[in-house]
């Protein structure tokens, strides 16, 4: 092994010894630092995952949704409207959708009922999201009763539990056949919840929306771009809160670093003097402090990031969820799918480890450049 590597190993060994013998002070530093990283990493993981969930929602969103309204209130849309819309040039396809909500009084939970377009669900069966399965302790093959619009219970066999790719999307989902949905909800065969359109050219979305309003004045077209804008607005509003949280945490971190930078104790100053007096160069002292900064900040970074991961993806981000999700209750509770961006982690690493390490070296440098004879006095 070369002497320079051996030298660095000696310095690391000495640094570890130095950190360990100030267990109280360094333990407190590590705790505060880990907490700062934990908050920052939690916010990063949480927002990144929420955005990924939103992207998953929008990936398969229809180009235009047509709803019927009566004096501004939502109404079922007649199936015949589809024929009128088909006459508009540029519309590639039209499909009716059947969906709604179901309140499960026994469990105090809301489910999203939906009839899949591809008619994969057999009559008499349902497919449920993982959240419902967990909440009601349901397995495949179990029979689930649901109360219909007329107050009579209807029973369904669970054919499948939906995978957990995006829990936010699928956790409360309950898929059923069209006939079952109509029977449960009481929607006549000639009506649908809304109509969804696909359009060949996205540039024509506004023109087609305008034509829809002109052709069917009692309808309201919702264009995909508008949904995107709404999501964006929601996230921008959340981003403001996150930014505020970020600012406070970063400010706390800099106060903490500044305190560290200016707070070299008399004992530490004396120790640096001794090391210089017994033959350490300024560079050796700085290398030792560099390793000290790296060791502490890396430990805090790893501990903070791991705790944040557990907090966000296993603990459903219970500390921030009420603020960041924007709704106070969600039935049933869900877990965010883990989406971690390497760039975010790298940014967090460079925003935390680097300034802290510099903050550790800077005061040591001020002391280390002083003549070592000060220790003789």
């Amino acid at each position: 092994m070369s002497r320079s590597i051996e030298r660095q190993l000696h310095l690391i060994d000495f640094t570890v010894g130095s950190i360990l013998r100030r267990k109280g002070k360094n333990g407190a530093l590590l705790l505060v630092y880990t907490l700062v990283i934990f908050v920052l990493a939690s916010v990063l993981f949480f927002t990144r995952s929420l955005r990924a969930e939103a992207a998953a929602v929008l990936k398969n969103a229809p180009d235009i949704i047509v709803q019927r309204t009566l004096t501004g209130r939502y109404q079922f849309i007649p199936m015949g409207y589809a024929d009128s819309l088909r006459t508009i040039r540029g519309v590639a396809s039209i499909a009716p959708r059947l969906w709604g909500y179901y309140y499960d009084g026994g469990f105090g939970a809301n489910y999203t009922l939906m009839v899949p377009n591809d008619s994969t669900v057999q009559p008499g069966t349902i497919e449920i999201g993982s959240g419902i399965a967990r909440l009601r302790n349901i397995r495949v093959g179990d029979i689930v009763p649901l109360i219909g619009h007329d107050g009579n219970p209807q029973t369904y066999t669970v054919a499948r539990i939906l995978d957990n790719g995006s829990a936010l999307v699928s956790a409360d989902l309950l898929l059923m056949a069209a006939a079952d949905y109509r029977s449960l909800s009481g929607i006549p065969d000639s009506f649908a919840t809304d109509l969804v359109l696909t359009v060949r050219n996205p540039k024509e979305f506004p023109t087609i929306a305008e034509k829809i309003t002109r052709l069917l004045p009692d309808t309201r077209p919702i264009v995909k771009n508008e949904i995107l804008r709404t999501y964006d607005a929601v996230f921008n509003w959340r981003a403001g809160i996150i930014l505020l949280l970020f600012t406070v945490v970063i400010l706390a971190f800099f106060i903490f670093s500044f305190d560290k930078a200016t707070g070299l104790s008399a004992e530490e100053r004396k120790e640096i003097g001794i090391l210089k007096a017994i033959g350490w160069e300024t560079g050796d002292v700085l290398a030792m402090k560099f390793w000290e900064g790296i060791a502490l900040s890396l430990m805090a970074f790893l501990a903070g990031a791991i705790l944040a991961y557990v907090h966000v993806f296993f603990g459903s981000g219970f500390l921030f969820a009420p603020i960041l999700k924007g709704w106070s209750t969600l039935y049933p509770s869900f877990s965010l799918a883990a989406h971690i961006n390497a760039g975010d982690l790298a940014a967090l690493f460079f925003l935390s480890v680097v300034p802290y390490t510099i903050a550790t070296i800077a005061p040591a440098w001020r002391v280390a450049v002083i003549d070592p004879d000060a220790v003789m006095r």
Partner: protein
Amino acid sequence: MIDIRNVSKVFNAGRPNEFTAIAGVSLHLTLREATILKGPSGSGKTTLLSLIGCMTRPTSGRIFVDNREITSLPERFLTGIRRSTFGFIFQRFNLLRGFTALENVIAPALPEGEKYSSLKKRAINILGMLDLDNRYDAKAEWLSGGEAQRVAIARALINNPSIVIADEPTAHLDEKLSGEFIAIMEILKKEGKTIIIASHDPLVYESTLTDRIVEIRHGEVVGEPARP
């Protein structure tokens, strides 16, 4: 030969609290001898030791060690000379608290990048020579005064320096421990090392160790009293 030529050291130059610690000292110290810098507190002994030991630079004048001028060397080279040529024993020993005796002894050699196993072996040998065989894993703060002093001597010897510098080494020791210190220095002198000690303790400058006494007052050499 350590050649000190018209060396001065002024602290806080140009400020109201300017203080001249050493004023135009010229001195020639012979290698492999024990020289005692004698004088009262504040006479400039420690500053002169610091200047000889490359711990600080003179405000004016030059110092040569073995015909090599050390005063104008950059910090890195100066540190290298300090580490390889000089071994320091400080007045209060200045051991690193929280570290073991062994860790304190090997600390000056860490920047050399020597293999840890051979470094440890060497340190244990030196500690054994100073009767500290069973104390090398004791923390610095657990050591008695005499043990701490011997650890400080072991630390000064780890890089096998040719010159050992001690600043008031007996100031905090009783007569017995002072005697032990002088005995160790005599052994080192016999091994061919140069000993330079700043002290106003008669036990030191009247001992058989002493080859030469240089008396310093107010930053100037005022004479060389004969050995008792």
